[in-house]
Symmetry: C2
Subunit: 222 residues, 2 copies
């Protein structure tokens, strides 16, 4: 790989958004340099490459930066277009995938943060919302293997890091009805976790739990 | 146009997001049926077609719904791909356009709402933020005619409804330094307004101002 072709991912291991970028790169078979950020002391490279938001993940390709996880995944799909398509080819299916990705990033993420960081009533509200979103996603999935049909793709990449969070939620937030209420969603999650490239890209439950403790400490001091 | 091919836009005239969908359709030369919603009494069609968010705009094409303005614009670009491309063809330029659209929808819209609905300190903060975002956009535009280069496109479609709001802000929020500080952005705005298809799609200043009064009344009662 020449320097001109170099692919760098600025990342933070427990981040669901970083995880999405990682999965997209490995599913495409792209060799990349992984740089991990200390979010309490962000690197000058991150501040320069994401001038607006100062957030990971950032993909740096041929010296140019691409920010925001869903935009990074679409870029990866368009650049390495011949290996393993991530978005469907048909416009309505593409629109539907983009809608679900937006829904997951806004709603599932927002409610997960309430369960993750909130206390008492706020945490309970987050759990109720997550059950409602899970119901919607269970219906959207239906009897398909993956959200796009028979093949793992865009929506799966974006949802699986949150599914990985659920597993941790179960242990600390008493969030254990999901398996009974949404069997298709749980089977989908387990199907995704069995993919080598996915499971290697996910933080372990321990790493997620450690990140949870660190954030909780940091936020309560902030 | 057969019923199978029918294109319907569920819309609300003063909405910047509705305006974006309108401009994309007319720039592509698509014939469509315009249905206006009363947002205080949403139609069963809107509730059915946007089950998750219950928001306009919704594009209904061949009986299927597409929601979220930026997803609608990309869908329109992909379906009517031979007339007047809205997104660039090169992946990095596409990623950059998507990033700016996301920035405008989050940051410019968020700060505009503060100027629009906020009072005192909150309104002042909104104005300061809008000046910072305008500076960033002025730099992004540089000496180009439009954000994508020589041709009107995706980013222009998304920003022009907010530019149209600025014009109203000037009259009620004492927001009049933009012309002096950001001459390129203002020249860009006036260039867009001179496009017949754009100006016909925009609400008039009076309509925006009326919507402002109605929202203000509604929100202060809510």
């Amino acid at each position: 790989m020449t320097q001109e072709e170099e692919v760098v991912l600025l990342d933070y291991w427990p981040s669901p958004f970083g995880t999405m970028a990682r999965i997209a790169l490995v599913e495409k078979g792209v060799n990349y340099i992984h740089k991990f950020e200390d979010l309490s002391n962000k690197s000058p490279l991150l501040l320069e490459m994401n001038r607006v938001h100062h957030k990971i993940p950032v993909l740096v390709h041929k010296g140019k930066s691409i920010c925001e996880s869903n935009i990074i995944i679409q870029y990866i799909d368009e650049i390495w277009k011949n290996n393993f398509p991530l978005l469907p080819s048909e416009p309505y299916q593409r629109a539907k995938a983009r809608f679900l990705v937006d829904f997951i990033n806004k709603k599932v993420h927002g409610s997960s943060v309430k369960v993750w960081m909130g206390q008492n009533e706020e945490q309970e509200n987050g759990k109720k919302e997550l059950l409602a979103w899970s119901k919607f996603l269970e219906e959207e999935l239906g009897d398909k293997l993956y959200f796009g049909g028979d093949v793992f793709g865009f929506v799966d990449i974006v949802l699986v890091p949150f599914y990985n969070w659920f597993i941790v939620f179960k242990t600390f937030a008493n969030f254990n009805t999901i398996e009974i209420e949404f069997p298709k969603l749980v089977m989908w999650g387990e199907r995704c976790l069995k993919r080598d490239l996915v499971s290697k890209s996910l933080p372990t439950s321990d790493q997620v739990y450690q990140a949870y403790l660190e954030f909780k400490k940091g936020w309560s001091h902030g």
